[in-house]
Amino acid sequence: NAGVTQTPKFRVLKTGQSMTLLCAQDMNHEYMYWYRQDPGMGLRLIHYSVGEGTTAKGEVPDGYNVSRLKKQNFLLGLESAAPSQTSVYFCASSMTGVNQPQHFGDGTRLSIL
């Protein structure tokens, strides 16, 4: 099993460009999450999903949109990229239930010029 796979691993964008980050998991997990990781700030939750067809806002949702059309995929979109969105983005998934851990992807390093 690959676990959680993120595509792409690196990307450089110009301000105003759009792009979509793809997260795929093969563990049949209900929950999926998108985080951003910035120096000195840890991981902050952008959006998450508790099941196919559902999404919800996390701690820092502005400037991002998400979709969960299939259970195994969770897409993160940047409609008009800004330099403040330069970050490392992590996707995670988990089973439902008490004390279930989250499983993370390798991350996507995104630079906005």
Binding site: Y33, G40, G42, L45, V50, N99
Partner: protein, 108 residues
């Protein structure tokens, strides 16, 4: 509001020394706490969770509800323990909030 605080950005020790990475939390409900670790060039992964009361790679963490702490401890640090460590609190059933992380450096 829920919060996780890791007061140390960097902790440097020599091999064989004891290690304690501090984590304090603020949460009105019943806490579910985790420690995650990120080794160089690897993905973030679960180290241990409080409910399991387990020892992983020699690390343990005890939940102290009175002090609202979940410190990570290891009696004898190894060089391969060098990594970024994150304490995390699960809240509202399905979300995690992470601390800002502590980088552990173990010198030979």
């Amino acid at each position: 509001a829920q919060r996780v605080t890791q007061p140390e950005k960097l902790l440097s020790v020599f091999k064989g020394a004891p290690v304690e990475l501090k984590c304090n939390y603020s949460y009105s409900g019943s806490p579910e706490l985790f420690w995650y670790v990120q080794y160089s060039r690897q993905r973030l992964q679960l180290l241990l969770r409080h409910i399991s009361r387990e020892s992983i790679k020699g690390f343990t963490a005890d939940l102290n509800k009175g002090e609202t702490s979940f410190h990570l401890k290891k009696p004898f640090a190894q060089e391969e323990d060098s990594a970024m460590y994150y304490c995390a609190l699960r809240y509202n059933t399905d979300k995690l909030i992470f601390g800002t992380g502590t980088r552990l450096q173990v010198f030979p």
